[in-house]
C-alpha cells in the first residue's frame, strides 16, 4: 500500500480566488488537477495526504485518482524534502551514460541514498524515470531546472553552487 507520508491534518488553499481562477479555465473540474497540485505544492512544499483530500474534493474525484497522478509526475513530491532536490534520471540512455556514477557521487559526498535528505536539509536525492531528454543523457533535474550531458566534474561544480 502506498503511504503518502504526512500525519493527518487538514489543508486549505491560502487564496480561494486563485483556486476559482484555475477552475474557471477548464471545461471540467478534473482538468484542473495538475495546476491545483502545483499550487498546493508551492504553498505546502509537498503533496501531503491532507492536500490530496482537499483537492480530490475540489475536483470531485476519488483520492486514488489524485494519487495516481501525483505519483506519476516526479516533479510532485509526496514527502517533505531538502532545499535542493536532485533528481537523477535512471532510465536507459542516462543509465548507459553514467547516471549511476552521479548517484554514487552524491551518496559518497553527502552520505544520502536515493530517497533521503541530508541532515542539514540541503539536498534530497532521487532516482527518477526518463526525463524526456534522452538525447542529452545523462540528465539531472535540480529543482525545476534540467542539467544535460553532465560529466562528473560539471556535476560536482553544480552541487557546490547550490547552497
Amino acid at each position: 500500500m502506498s503511504n503518502n507520508g504526512a500525519p493527518k491534518q487538514s489543508f486549505s488553499f491560502a487564496d480561494p480566488d486563485k483556486v476559482q481562477n484555475i477552475l474557471s479555465q477548464y471545461p471540467d473540474k478534473q482538468s484542473a488537477l495538475l495546476p491545483l497540485l502545483h499550487l498546493a505544492q508551492s504553498e505546502e512544499g509537498y503533496i501531503s495526504s491532507a492536500v490530496i483530500d482537499t483537492i480530490s474534493e475540489i475536483v470531485d474525484c476519488h483520492q486514488a485518482l489524485v494519487m495516481d497522478c501525483v505519483s506519476f509526475y516526479t516533479m510532485l513530491y509526496t514527502k517533505p524534502h531538502g532545499r535542493h532536490i536532485i533528481q537523477v534520471c535512471q532510465t536507459l540512455s542516462c543509465s548507459l551514460n553514467g547516471a549511476d556514477g552521479l548517484v554514487d557521487h552524491v551518496t559518497a559526498k553527502c552520505g544520502i541514498k536515493p530517497g533521503e535528505t541530508t541532515d542539514d536539509n540541503r539536498f534530497t536525492l532521487m532516482k527518477v524515470e526518463c526525463l524526456g531528454s534522452c538525447g542529452t543523457a545523462p540528465v539531472v533535474q535540480v529543482n525545476n531546472d534540467y542539467h544535460e550531458s553532465l560529466t562528473l566534474e560539471e556535476f560536482e561544480k553544480l552541487l557546490e553552487s547550490l547552497k
Binding site: 500500500m1 476519488h62 526518463c130
Partner: protein, 528 residues
C-alpha cells in the same frame, strides 16, 4: 459495411469494429492482455500487435478500427483493411513482448493459483521464446493485501491496468491506481481506502495473470483437478450466471459466467462467497417425524403414508407455503398438492445496490420470486394473518433454508395448525416447527428452472450430488400429490416442466434444451 481481410479470410464488419474484436468474434486468436470487452480500451500492453497493410509499423489490434474507405482507395479494389496476424515481424514482436513482460516475473507457475488458466503461461508457451536474455537481478516485491479478500503478487503483474479500470468503470469505487511510472510502477491502493467493495472479487477474475488472488481460494487446489458446472447464483433475484468449480462434492469457488442479458461478465461477492455458509450446516438426509421425545428418523414410505393420511383427514383445510428460494418446478408441484391455496413468508431483503456500470445487486435475497408468483398465481403474501379465517389444518411448507428467521406471528401460527409438513435440507427454525420434516435438496444440489426479477427463465443446474436419502424438491410434493389423488406420478423434472407449461402459458415452450446456458425471456420475447 467495411470488409476486412484477416490472414486469408474476408469478414464483413460494422464500421468502427476493432481488428481485435473482428478477429476474436471469428475465432482467430490474437494474444492480448489489456483489452477486456467490458472495459475502456487503453492499448497499453502491446501484446495484440498485427501488421496492417499500408501502415508503417505494427499496430495494436485492440485500438485499430476498421472504417469505410472510399471505393477508389480500397485495397485490391475490395478491402477496407488487410491485416496479418501471422506475419514474421508480428511473430518476432510477440516473442519480444513476452520476453519483456517476463523480465521480472518469478516464473513460479508451479505454485501459482492461476496456472492452468493464465494468459501469460499460455501465450508464453504458444508465442514466446523458451529462454530469456535477461541476466540481471529481478525486481522483487513482497505480496500486499489490496483489500480484505484480495492479495496482489506484484512480481507477476504485467501492469495491464484491467483491475484499475474495473474499479473506475464498473464498481465506480476507484480504489486502485497505478502508482509511479516506468520501472517503479505498481498497482496500489490508499491505506485508508482499501479495495473492499462488493464487486472486489471480480478483479481476481479479470486479471489475466496470477497477480490478483482471492484469499478465499489461494493455494486451495489446482484448477485442473476441479470440475466446472455452469449454473445460476441463488443469492438474489438478479440471477447472475456462474460457473461452480468443485472437486467431487466440495465446492471450491464460484466465478461469473458471461451472459449479456443478465450479469454481463461479473458477479458480486455475496454470491461469490455465499456457498461457504452451506459448508457447516447439518444436512438433513432422512425423513424425521415428531414424537413425544422429539424428532425421530423414519422411512420415506412411512413419511409419505403419514402425510397422505393427514392430508386426507384435513378435508378442505389444506394450504401450502411456497418459497422464492425454490425452483419453479418445486413451487408448481406444491401448488398442485394444495389445490393452489398457497401463501408465502415475508421476503428476506437487504439494501439494493446499483453500480454506475449498470450492475445491480438486488434487495430481494431470493432468486425466484418472479417464477414462484408465476406458477402460484393466487399466492397470499401475508399468509400468517389470513390463516385463522381459512381454518387451515394441514400446511405444507417449502423451507426457504438457513437464511430464514421465523417471527413470533409465524411461530404462533405454525403451532396452531394440526399438521405441519416442512420440506427442507437442514434442521432450520422452520423445520423445528414441523410435525414431519421431509429431506429435500440444498441449494447447490437443485435442478430446475428459476425466473429472475427481469422475467428471464434460467436453468439451475446441480453442482453437487443430493445427499443421503434426500429427494429432489419437485419430487416430494409430486409423490404425495399423486398418491393422494390416485394418479400416476411424474418421472422427471422435464415432465414437470411440461405439465407446468400446460397450466401456465408463459412457460409452455420452456425446455432445458431451449434454455441452454443463457436462459430465455418469458414469452420468448425474442432478443436472441
Amino acid at each position: 459495411m467495411p470488409i476486412v481481410k484477416i490472414d486469408d479470410t474476408d469478414f464483413t464488419v460494422e464500421k468502427g469494429t476493432s481488428v481485435l474484436q473482428a478477429a476474436l468474434a471469428n475465432d482467430i486468436e490474437i494474444p492480448h492482455y489489456c483489452y477486456h470487452p467490458a472495459l475502456e480500451i487503453v492499448g497499453s500492453c502491446r501484446m495484440c500487435l498485427v501488421k496492417v497493410e499500408g501502415m508503417p509499423k505494427l499496430q495494436v489490434s485492440c485500438n485499430t478500427f476498421v472504417g469505410d474507405v472510399p471505393s477508389d482507395k480500397k485495397i485490391d479494389g475490395k478491402y477496407d483493411m488487410v491485416v496479418s496476424t501471422q506475419d514474421e515481424l508480428v511473430q518476432q514482436e510477440q516473442k519480444n513482448m513476452l520476453e519483456f513482460l517476463l523480465l521480472n516475473h518469478p516464473l513460479d507457475c508451479p505454485v501459482c493459483d492461476q496456472a492452468g488458466e493464465c494468459d501469460l503461461q499460455d501465450y508464453a508457451f504458444k508465442y514466446g521464446n523458451a529462454h530469456s536474455r535477461f541476466e540481471e537481478d529481478k525486481r522483487v516485491r513482497p505480496n500486499e493485501y489490496l483489500g480484505s479478500q484480495i492479495v496482489i503478487n506484484h512480481n507477476r503483474c504485467i501492469l495491464c491496468s484491467r483491475c484499475v479500470r474495473f474499479t473506475r468503470e464498473i464498481s465506480g469505487s476507484s480504489e486502485l491506481f497505478v502508482e509511479a511510472r516506468g520501472y517503479n510502477s505498481k498497482i496500489s491502493v490508499l491505506e485508508e481506502k482499501p479495495l473492499d467493495n462488493l464487486l472486489a472479487g471480480n478483479v481476481a477474475d479479470i486479471c489475466p495473470v496470477g497477480a490478483l488472488l482471492s484469499t478465499d481460494y489461494i493455494h486451495k487446489n489446482r484448477i485442473w483437478n476441479l470440475d466446472k458446472q455452469p449454473s445460476i447464483c441463488q443469492d438474489c433475484s438478479v440471477g447472475c450466471n456462474v460457473d461452480v468449480f468443485h472437486q467431487k462434492d466440495q465446492i471450491l469457488r464460484l466465478t461469473p459466467r458471461e451472459n449479456h442479458s443478465v450479469n454481463k461478465f461479473f458477479m458480486c461477492d455475496k454470491g461469490r462467497y455465499g456457498f461457504h455458509r452451506f459448508e457447516e450446516i447439518e444436512r438433513l438426509t432422512v425423513p424425521m417425524i415428531m414424537s413425544e421425545g422429539g424428532f425421530i428418523e423414519t422411512t420415506w414410505d412411512e413419511a409419505i403414508e403419514k402425510t397422505v393420511d393427514e392430508l386426507n383427514g384435513a378435508g378442505k383445510g389444506i394450504a401450502g407455503i411456497a418459497s422464492p428460494f425454490h425452483t419453479n418446478e418445486a413451487n408448481f408441484m406444491l401448488g398442485r398438492l394444495v389445490n393452489g391455496n398457497v401463501g408465502t413468508l415475508p421476503p428476506i431483503t437487504s439494501e439494493e445496490i446499483n453500480y454506475p456500470s449498470g450492475f445491480r445487486i438486488s434487495g430481494d435475497r431470493s432468486p425466484n420470486r418472479h417464477g414462484m408468483n408465476d406458477v402460484c398465481p393466487s399466492i397470499v403474501d401475508d399468509f400468517a394473518s389470513a390463516v385463522e379465517r381459512k381454518d387451515i389444518r394441514f400446511l405444507y411448507l417449502l423451507d426457504d433454508g438457513i437464511d430464514r428467521e421465523l417471527n413470533e406471528l409465524w411461530k404462533g401460527m405454525l403451532e396452531k395448525i394440526d399438521f405441519v409438513v416442512v420440506q427442507s435440507y437442514a434442521m432450520t427454525d422452520v423445520s423445528k416447527c414441523a410435525d414431519i420434516v421431509l429431506p429435500g435438496q440444498a441449494p447447490f444440489e437443485r435442478e430446475g428452472t428459476i425466473t429472475n426479477d427481469m422475467g428471464r427463465v434460467q436453468w439451475l443446474r446441480p453442482s453437487v450430488t443430493t445427499k443421503g436419502e434426500s429427494r429432489p424438491d419437485w419430487e416430494i410434493p409430486m409423490l404425495i400429490q399423486s398418491k393422494h389423488a390416485g394418479v400416476e406420478g411424474l418421472t422427471d423434472v422435464s415432465s414437470v416442466m411440461n405439465e407446468m407449461g400446460k397450466d401456465f402459458a408463459a412457460y409452455s415452450d420452456i425446455t432445458f434444451f431451449r434454455l441452454g446456458d443463457q436462459g430465455l425471456p418469458l414469452n420468448g420475447k425474442a432478443e436472441e
